[in-house]
C-alpha cells in the first residue's frame, strides 16, 4: 500500500490526466498532494464532465488545458476558477460532448487510432475541434458524413473507490466509466476508503464490479477521500461545503485562503 504523496510523485508536468465525473468517485484527497508537487502544464481530460477537483487544479495554476463536455459545481453553481481562467485566456479549453470523450477513450481501450460517432455535424463543438475529422462513411452507398474522434490516451487516471484488496484489485461497482478510464490510461492511481483482506476476484459477486490489478498502478487508503463530493453507496455530497467553496473562490485571494484550509482538512 502506498501513501498519497507517493501516488502524486507518479504525476509529472505536461502529463495528460483523466479525472472522473463528480458522482463517479472523485479522488479529492489527491488534490493537495498534486498541487504540493509543484508540477505544471497538466492537460486534464474530464470523463466526461468536471467539477470541484478540476476547478481547484486550474485555480492552483497547474493546468495547461481542459478537455471537457461541461464543468460546474452542480447545485453550487459555476466553476469559479475555471470561468476566471476562460475569461483571462490563461487555459486552453477543448469543448467536447460527453459521448465524444467516451468514444476517444474506447478507441484507446481497443488500441485503434480513432472511432467514429454520430451527431456533431453542424455544431460549433465540431467546428472548433481541429483534431476531429469528418469523413464519408465508406460503407454507405449514398453520401453519409460521419465524425472521427482520435483515441484519448491519458498518461494517468486518478479516481476514488469504496474498497480495494491487498492484491491491488479495486471495486468500482457499476461505475464502469472508471474502468474505461483505466483501460485507456498508461497509469491508474486509485484511492480507496478501505482495504479488505479477501481477494475481490475470488468471489463472483464482487468480481463483476472489480477492476483487476492488471490496470491499477498504485492504491492508497484514505477515509472520506471524495469529500466534499459524495461516494456512491458510502456517503453523500457535502453541499454546504461546495457552496462555501463557490462563495470563497469567487476571487483568486479567496481561493488561496480556502485552499490553505483545505490542505489542513485533507
Amino acid at each position: 500500500m502506498e501513501d498519497l504523496q507517493s501516488l502524486a510523485r507518479l504525476v509529472e508536468s505536461g502529463m495528460r490526466l483523466a479525472l472522473p465525473v463528480d458522482y463517479a468517485g472523485v479522488s479529492m484527497a489527491m488534490v493537495h498532494p498534486l498541487i504540493e508537487r509543484g508540477i505544471s502544464d497538466l492537460d486534464v481530460v474530464c470523463v466526461p464532465t468536471g467539477g470541484l477537483q478540476v476547478d481547484m487544479l486550474v485555480g492552483a495554476g497547474v493546468v495547461r488545458s481542459v478537455e471537457t463536455s461541461a464543468i460546474s459545481l452542480g447545485e453550487a453553481g459555476g466553476a469559479p476558477c475555471f470561468n476566471r481562467a476562460v475569461k483571462e485566456g490563461s487555459i486552453v479549453v477543448r469543448d467536447a460532448t460527453c459521448p465524444a470523450i467516451h468514444t476517444g477513450l474506447l478507441a484507446a481501450q481497443k488500441g485503434v487510432p480513432f472511432m467514429p460517432m454520430r451527431g456533431l455535424i453542424g455544431s460549433d463543438v465540431l467546428r472548433y475541434r481541429q483534431d476531429w475529422k469528418t469523413v464519408d462513411n465508406p460503407f454507405a452507398e449514398a453520401s453519409d458524413p460521419i465524425v472521427l474522434i482520435p483515441a484519448i490516451r491519458p498518461d494517468v487516471a486518478i479516481f476514488h473507490v469504496p474498497m480495494a484488496d491487498r492484491h491491488g484489485n479495486v471495486w468500482i461497482g457499476r461505475r464502469r466509466e472508471l474502468a474505461a478510464m483505466a483501460y485507456a490510461s498508461a497509469v491508474t492511481l486509485v484511492t480507496a476508503e478501505r482495504i479488505v483482506d479477501k481477494n475481490l476476484l475470488s468471489d463472483e459477486v464482487t468480481a463483476t464490479g472489480t477492476l483487476p490489478s492488471l490496470y491499477v498502478t498504485a492504491v492508497a487508503q484514505v477515509t472520506r477521500g471524495a469529500w466534499p463530493y459524495g461516494l456512491w453507496g458510502e456517503y453523500s455530497a457535502d453541499t454546504q461545503e461546495l457552496m462555501r467553496y463557490a462563495r470563497e473562490a469567487r476571487t483568486a485571494q479567496g481561493f488561496s485562503a480556502y485552499m490553505a484550509g483545505f490542505g489542513e482538512a485533507a
Binding site: 465525473v21 458522482y23 463517479a24 470523463v47 466526461p48 464532465t49 471537457t68 463536455s69 461541461a70 464543468i71 460546474s72 452542480g74 447545485e75 459555476g78 466553476a79 475555471f82 470561468n83 476562460v86 475569461k87 485566456g89 479549453v93 469543448d95 467536447a96 460532448t97 460527453c98 459521448p99 465524444a100 467516451h102 474506447l106 460517432m117 454520430r118 451527431g119 456533431l120 455535424i121 453542424g122 455544431s123 460549433d124 463543438v125 465540431l126 467546428r127 472548433y128 449514398a142 453520401s143 453519409d144 458524413p145 460521419i146 457499476r174 461505475r175 464502469r176 466509466e177 472508471l178 474502468a179 474505461a180 456512491w232
Partner: protein, 254 residues
C-alpha cells in the same frame, strides 16, 4: 373531503411535460432537471394507474429510477440505438431555428459569460426522436435571434444522419412546438396567467402562432392527486430540496 388546491405554475409545467411524453416507452432525464423528472414520473404513474403499457424512466443521478449499469456511456449507447424515445435539453440561449447554446455568451473561446458546457447535447439532439427543450426563464436574453455558440443545431442538412431533434419547447410562460420542415417554432398554448403580448415581448425570435392561441390546460384532479403524492415521494430521492419546496408551496396556499 377537503377542497383540491388550485395548481401551482410548476405543476402546470410538470403536467405539460407529461402530456408531451405521451406514447414514449423509455424517457431519460439528465442531471439537474427536477421538473422534467417529475413530468416523466407523472406519465409513468398515470399509465400504471390506467393499466396501459409501462413507461421506463432513466433519471441520471438517481439510484432507484435508473436502469444503467454500464457507466455514463450507456445513456449515449442506448440513444444511438434508438432505445431512448425522449430526452430533455435546456440552453443558456435558444434561438428561433432550435439551435441551443450551453457554452457561453460572446466571442468563443474567451466567453464573457461561461456556462458549464455542451454536455451530451451535440449527440443526443441528433439521435433522440423527441427532444423537449425546457427552460423556465422566458426572457429575451435566453430566447435570442441567433445563439452565440451552437452546442447542437436545431436542424441538419439533408444527408446528415439524424433520427431525432427538437419536438417542443416548454417555458415558464408557454408551450411551443417545433416544425422540423420549416425549422421554426409555433406557439401552441399560453400558460394560465400569461398573455400573448407578454410572450412576444419576452421572445427574441419570431415564431408562428394562431390568431388566438389557446391556454395550456391545467392538470385535472387525477393528475394533481398523483403529482402531489406518489410523484413528489419518488422525486425526493434525487431532488429532496425541490420536492420539499413544492410541498412547502402547497402548504402556504392552503
Amino acid at each position: 373531503m377537503s377542497m383540491i388546491q388550485p395548481p401551482l405554475p410548476r405543476e402546470i409545467l410538470i403536467c405539460t411535460i407529461a402530456r408531451l411524453l405521451d406514447g414514449v416507452r423509455h424517457v431519460a432525464v439528465g442531471a439537474s432537471s427536477p421538473i422534467p423528472a417529475a413530468g416523466a414520473m407523472l406519465l409513468r404513474a398515470l399509465k400504471e394507474r390506467a393499466g396501459a403499457a409501462p413507461v421506463k424512466i432513466s433519471i441520471l443521478g438517481s439510484v432507484e429510477h435508473n436502469f444503467f449499469t454500464n457507466g455514463s456511456t450507456e445513456l449515449f449507447d442506448c440513444a444511438g440505438q434508438g432505445r431512448i424515445d425522449a430526452f430533455f435539453l435546456g440552453g443558456g440561449q435558444i434561438d428561433g431555428q432550435g439551435n441551443i447554446n450551453l457554452v457561453g455568451v460572446g466571442d468563443y473561446p474567451r466567453s464573457s459569460v461561461r456556462w458549464p458546457g455542451s454536455f451530451g447535447s451535440a449527440y443526443l439532439y441528433f439521435v433522440v426522436p423527441r427532444v423537449i427543450l425546457f427552460r423556465e426563464e422566458h426572457t429575451p436574453r435566453v430566447f435570442v435571434e441567433k445563439v452565440d455558440f451552437i452546442s447542437a443545431p436545431g436542424t441538419s442538412d439533408e444527408g446528415v444522419y439524424r433520427t431525432g431533434g427538437p419536438y417542443a419547447l416548454v417555458t415558464g410562460k408557454g408551450l411551443f412546438r417545433f416544425d422540423r420542415q420549416k425549422g421554426r417554432f409555433r406557439l401552441d398554448s399560453i400558460h394560465p396567467g400569461h398573455s400573448f403580448d407578454e410572450i412576444a415581448e419576452a421572445t427574441g425570435f419570431t415564431f408562428e402562432h394562431d390568431a388566438e392561441p389557446g391556454v395550456t390546460p391545467s392538470p385535472d384532479v387525477d393528475e394533481l392527486d398523483l403529482l402531489r403524492g406518489r410523484v413528489l415521494d419518488e422525486l425526493a430521492e434525487t431532488y429532496p430540496e425541490f420536492a420539499a419546496q413544492m410541498r412547502q408551496s402547497l402548504t402556504e396556499i392552503a
